[in-house]
């Protein structure tokens, strides 16, 4: 034992040492002669000293101080967690701590592959489930890699999942700490878990088994063989055999899922003696702890090893926060993402295009009211169906580029934790393609008409606009308003002709960074790295494009509702009255029925004298810009955007990206570094600050702003300052004109 390390077997004897319940349980089992991998624990004091001595404590605190954690969306928590993780990765262990850990690490563990596990001092307490919040790593070899992974485990004290549960964990910079377990790696031929209590029948126990390591089982990627046994005697009550198609094994570093040669795997994975041994050990462990347990085990060379044990109440307890459960379900393994990718590319996107094409091009004018009602119902059904696919399949797939980003940062320790986006951004985004098309359309029109007249006074222009809109159905209007689409587009096109030259983001060394990333893997693991990059790129592109695919259905529905509005006349007193498809359908069926209005959100601060001076959010795209604010409250505001203004809005969605080439910065209420607005801002090389909760309330159109995309700050200047700054800008532009 050194100052910061203790042998697992000794933890139980150290009454004043809190290495977390996971470590303590392992120590107790060792003292009771249960067979476990050998190892040591790095005490929580090492973590505390590290963050104090290196100044990380203050930096973490500042990161968490941006916003109340409870007000953060999952994306914002993920971003905060990524930045903190990068701080740990980039901060070296100072010499005395490094030496202490190395001298406490037994020589065999320094040479052989090890497992590095988290054991948080707040995990698995009070009968609440906190399993899986922190990171563990298997098959790590060599001192430097071990030390690197210790820091990753420490960083996972602040994982996105842990931040989600910050209240339950009482997560706090001064009191929370993380122990790290370093154990001998046991590469078993078959592994699994055992529950002392079947969730469906408390009198029974459950044993599950897979080939190889149990990571694939725990991650939910491999279906296991399952035995239901009597909780008292261990007698087998029923058994279920899986396909045995895949298994998890070790690679140069970490693990990999492999396909199994099915020959000779048709019989059950465990024989009766093995089931009996697992059950017997489970019973012994339950007697030691005096409660039902959930254990992880593995067989190596015929010997049963116990890897972990925790009270069963811990894992089986349910989280009633549905949003949080859904958010955390977004974290997917690479295998899961590969499956999703194939499904999205080969099944969903072609089917979406086909379905949208089938619905578009129908002449709504010629339909009777009854037929139009039927058309709305059909379009709504299609929209609802694809929206469900979007939430359940497309959004989880977006985790692909997050997974890539995390691996990139862990391996290359970049100064900017979002450097990885440069590599992903080579993909072709549909919204940018549309913007280029609009710019070219605007130039074309300008040449032919010498000045962009109103569409209603120029039939040729009107025809061209209609064709453009048809090509990009549903891109510049939303469910509430569509009738002004042509004028909106025309106004934006007019502005585009006079905009300053584009300063598009062209990050240097893209190829170099890609090579650095791929070369950080051994030859054996290069295929995994390329797979990860491929998934990252596809998911990054889809994160933008999926809105456009879905937007087509929304546009088609809006188009049919617009047609209905024209017919319903006075019964539709405003757009909000006739935005509910069910109400519109009813009104088309019954001549006297008046559609009910959908209530508008009226979130306004009652204190009219409150003025923001500085607002803090996330620095989502670097750069500094000054300009006049344009608050986008509704779709109609899009047409008012002037060249050089700063857009302030709830969230940039693909319907709004037409105006982005005009603006000098973006400020969003919705938070996140990888949300649509942030992606587009980076593509155009303009600053973007996201996650300012009351941005659209506190900032007014006409306010003069400075947007600091490095630090995530929006400064609202008072009138005097604004006048001075506007005058300076005016002087500068006059001078430029004189020179030219």
């Amino acid at each position: 034992m050194t100052q910061y390390t203790v042998a697992i077997k000794d933890i139980v004897r150290e009454e004043n040492l809190n290495c977390g319940n996971k470590a303590r349980a392992l120590s107790i089992m060792t003292s009771e002669d249960i067979r476990l991998p050998d190892g040591i624990c790095i005490t929580p004091d090492a973590y505390k000293e590290f963050i104090t001595q290196t100044g990380l404590k203050g930096r973490i605190l500042m990161e968490l101080g941006r916003k109340d954690l409870k007000d953060m969306r999952w994306e914002e928590l993920w971003d905060a967690s990524l930045r903190i993780r990068n701080m740990f990765v980039r901060t070296p262990l100072y010499p005395s701590l490094r030496e202490d850990i190395i001298s406490g690490l037994p020589k065999p563990l320094q040479r052989k592959p090890v497992v590095i596990r988290s054991s948080s001092t707040a995990e698995d307490t009070q009968g609440t489930s906190f399993a899986g919040l922190h990171d563990s790593f298997v098959n790590v070899t060599g001192i430097d890699r071990i030390l690197h992974h210790i820091k990753l485990v420490w960083a996972s004290l602040w994982s996105d999942a842990a931040l989600s549960y910050s209240k339950e964990l009482s997560l706090d910079i001064n009191n929370s700490a993380m122990s790290v377990l370093i154990q001998n790696m046991i590469v078993g031929t078959k592994s699994g878990i055992a529950f002392g209590e079947d969730p469906n029948d408390p009198k029974k126990a459950v044993i599950e088994a897979v080939y190889g390591l149990n990571k694939g089982l725990v991650d939910g990627d491999i279906e296991p063989d399952r035995w239901i046994v009597s909780g008292r005697t261990g007698r087998i009550v029923s058994q279920h055999q899986s396909a045995h198609a895949r298994y998890t094994t070790v690679t140069t570093e970490g693990t990999i899922l492999k396909k199994k040669n099915l020959a000779g795997t048709r019989s059950p994975l465990l024989n009766k003696n093995e089931i009996s041994e697992i059950f017997s050990t489970l019973t012994t462990i339950q007697n030691i702890f005096g409660s039902k347990q959930d254990i992880e085990w593995t067989f190596r060379r015929g010997l049963l090893y116990i890897l972990q044990a925790r009270p069963i109440t811990v894992r089986s307890s349910r989280d009633n926060n549905k949003q949080r459960v859904w958010d955390l379900s977004l974290r997917r393994s690479i295998d899961n993402l590969n499956n999703l990718s194939e499904k999205i590319e080969k099944v969903y996107l072609p089917a979406m295009t086909k379905a949208a094409n089938k619905l578009s091009g129908r002449d709504l004018n010629k339909k009777s009211d009854e037929e139009l009602a039927q058309e709305i119902a059909e379009r709504k059904k299609a929209f609802d169906y694809w929206r469900a696919i979007y939430w359940n399949e497309f959004i989880p797939f977006a985790h692909g580029f997050r997974l890539f980003g995390q691996v990139y940062n862990d391996r290359l320790s970049p100064e900017d934790p979002y450097e990885f986006v440069d590599i992903l951004a080579t993909s072709h985004l549909l919204s940018l393609e549309r913007n280029r098309a609009l710019e070219s359309f605007a130039k074309d029109i300008f040449k032919s008409s010498q000045g962009l007249p109103r569409s209603d006074s120029d039939p040729v222009l009107n025809d061209r606009l209609e064709k453009f809109i048809e090509k990009f159905t549903g891109v510049s209007c939303d469910i509430t308003k569509c009738e002004d689409e042509k004028e909106t587009l025309l106004n934006i096109a007019r502005q585009l002709l006079h905009k300053s030259p584009s300063k598009k983001n062209r990050p240097g060394g893209r190829e170099k960074k890609k090579k650095l990333f791929l070369n950080s893997f051994s030859k054996k693991d290069r295929a995994y790295a390329e797979n990860l990059l491929d998934i990252g790129r596809k998911s990054y592109r889809l994160r933008d494009d999926d809105n456009i695919y879905l937007g087509r259905f929304e546009g088609l529905l809006t188009e049919a509702i617009e047609e209905s509005r024209k017919r319903l006349g006075r019964r539709c007193k405003d757009t909000y009255t006739c935005s509910n498809p069910e109400e519109v359908i009813r009104a088309l069926h019954f001549r006297t029925y008046k559609p009910k209005a959908v209530k508008e959100s009226t979130h306004k601060d009652s204190h009219i004298k409150v003025q923001a001076r500085q607002l803090r959010g996330q620095p989502a795209s670097r750069g500094i810009a000054e300009g006049t604010a344009r608050v986008l409250a509704t779709a109609e505001d899009l047409g008012s955007v002037q060249n050089g203004e700063i857009v302030v809005c709830d969230a940039i969605d693909p319907n709004m990206t037409f105006v982005i080439p005009l603006v000098s910065a973006i400020v969003e209420r919705r938070g996140g570094m990888l949300i649509h607005g942030a992606i587009i801002a980076r593509e155009y090389g303009i600053p973007c600050v996201t996650g300012i909760p009351d941005a659209t309330d506190l900032i007014k159109t006409g306010d003069y702003l400075t947007v600091d995309g490095y630090y995530g700050l929006v400064i609202v200047h008072d009138q005097k300052e604004a006048q001075e700054k506007r005058a300076a800008v005016h002087r500068l532009s006059t001078k430029k004109e004189d020179i030219s």
């Binding site: 500042m62 101080g65 009652s606 204190h607 923001a612 607002l615 909760p693 009351d694």
Partner: protein, 150 residues
């Protein structure tokens, strides 16, 4: 749906209730002069009061220039301050209360500082009123909002 935060006004009132000391800056020549005072305030947030001897530098400064600034904050002098501390800068105009008004607001002041009874009853002690023009509220290190009363 996110829960709406308490209003800026209630954040300010909460801070004024919690803290009893603040730093007042008066306009000296040539240097601005900052010093610690105990303050009380009215419920409508329009007035702050503090007591001072007439022989002090801050009192002399106020006679020459009524514009003052007061800083009230919750710092504990540890690292958490950068996340948790809030600070309020108050901009206003200061003047000594006349006898009648002094009597009126003295009770309010002594309710907060009963141990200053002897000090406040000293004939050399003035009760100074600050008419607040503006509150500038800072939280989370860089988030700045302003409540204007003029």
């Amino acid at each position: 749906m996110l829960k709406k935060r308490p209003s800026l006004r209630s954040d300010i009132e909460k801070l004024l209730r919690k803290e009893r000391l603040g730093v007042i800056a008066t306009q000296g020549e040539p240097y601005p002069y900052a010093t610690l005072v105990g303050f009380s305030f009215t419920k409508d947030l329009k007035h702050l009061f503090f007591a001072t001897m007439r022989s002090t530098r801050k009192y002399r400064n106020i006679l020459n220039n009524q514009h003052v600034s007061v800083l009230i904050d919750t710092r504990k002098n540890d690292i958490d301050d950068f996340k948790d501390a809030v600070a309020l800068t108050i901009l206003g105009r200061a003047a000594e209360l006349e006898k009648a008004d002094k009597k009126k607001y003295l009770t309010l002041y002594l309710k907060r500082f009963p141990h200053l009874k002897c000090f406040i009853e000293d004939p050399e002690t003035a009760l100074v009123e600050i008419q607040v023009d503006r509150y500038i509220f800072v939280r989370r290190f860089q988030e700045v909002k302003e409540l204007s009363l003029i």
